[in-house]
Symmetry: C2
Subunit: 230 residues, 2 copies
């Protein structure tokens, strides 16, 4: 019975890894769709979000079934509850990639990203992918040594977000209101994506160590205060 | 034992109601702070968010304890799992009110809201409060007849959100970039707050009826597509 239990728990863990890969691909494609005004890539992200939702449904059903049939306690119970939290974060990350793809689609055949912020958006995309890749590694091997790197990369994302706002407010912005609104929201989507990825990793690390992950900075849960206080 | 169980489950339910009241007060205060440039009210929202987080911690600990000690199955298990989901939404609603309060604080002694969008923001605040009040009623009595009203009010929030963007893009916007960014983000905070409140109500309704709540419109999970596609 216990062996079955751990086999089923491993299956949930593998599906979480799969989900982190899927939302990584979604973000990679969404960023390319946005920067290259690639409509078919945007459509791909939009249509594939249903697959992320199915992985979520699958994990939730398995976790519920495990709780009902095996009635785990202690660390086993904590693992199931952590999986339920992680799955909600991962599903939301899929949504955020989807939102970026929808902006790309809405502005097609133009690009939603003016030339002077392309570099910053490209970097935000790269940091998002680096973060979600570490989250996957944490989920896979529960390698908690990645915790500090993750916090550093989360700080890097916040710095890029501030740079984006600084440019919007610099007086050098010549693109008018619609691209400004797009960039404001896009910036927030990247930042929130990173927050959720870091949150998943923190939860797994907490599960393994029993200690909250080190936070190199105060918790940043997406407040605009620093973003706008430039 | 079962009686204890249901007593403890009721206690979780009461704490969820308390949490919905707390995030309602937070949103009411945040909206007043924003519209009236009321610094002390903004500070109150910011400092009281810790109390919302404590309610979250309390519910999570109780739910975990119930799962470990009582090992519920069937509808009892579904109720505990639904509570864990609801608590995450309610906590996030507190954060969104907090973000609005922080914008108010950042722009003090000025108001972040130019006169020509005050009416729309005031309405968004009123709809947010009406929605969270219905969510509280659903949590309290599991009154599922409120479901349709909730969906209608969620549609009203989306319409207000579109009106806000329409004004930003109308060419009549004379306030420059910083207030435009503030209003873009504030609009999104109200919309997301409503989404989370409706999500809590839907989960409770699903728990009671075993059927998804009626969705008068396609699920709106905060995509900007409609908001920007004005």
């Amino acid at each position: 019975m216990r062996e079955t239990f751990h086999g089923e728990l491993d299956q949930i863990g593998r599906t979480l890894v799969e989900m982190s890969e899927a939302v990584g691909v979604a973000m990679s494609d969404a960023t390319s769709a946005l920067l290259d005004a690639d409509l078919s890539l945007a459509e791909k992200v939009i249509s594939e979000d249903a697959a992320v939702d199915r992985l979520r449904d699958d994990i939730e059903a398995r976790a519920f079934d495990l709780l009902a049939r095996q009635q785990p306690v202690a660390v086993d119970l904590r693992t199931v509850v952590t999986s339920l939290k992680a799955v909600a974060d991962l599903e939301r990350m899929g949504d955020l990639a989807l939102h970026i793809a929808k902006v790309a689609r809405m502005r097609y055949p133009a690009s939603a990203v003016p030339d002077d912020v392309r570099g910053t958006i490209r970097e935000m995309g790269a940091v998002a992918l680096s973060i979600v890749d570490k989250t996957r590694q944490v989920l896979e091997g529960q390698d908690i040594s990645l915790a500090e790197q993750l916090e550093r990369e989360d700080d890097a994302m916040d710095a890029l977000h501030r740079r984006l706002f600084a440019h919007l407010l610099s007086g050098e912005w010549t693109h008018g209101m619609e691209p400004a609104i797009d960039i404001t929201l896009i910036g927030r989507y990247y930042e929130r994506y990173a927050d959720h990825a870091v949150s998943v990793a923190r939860q797994v690390i907490f599960l393994v160590t029993g200690e909250p992950a080190p936070m190199s900075t105060a918790i940043n849960n997406g407040a605009t205060e620093t973003a706008l206080g430039v």
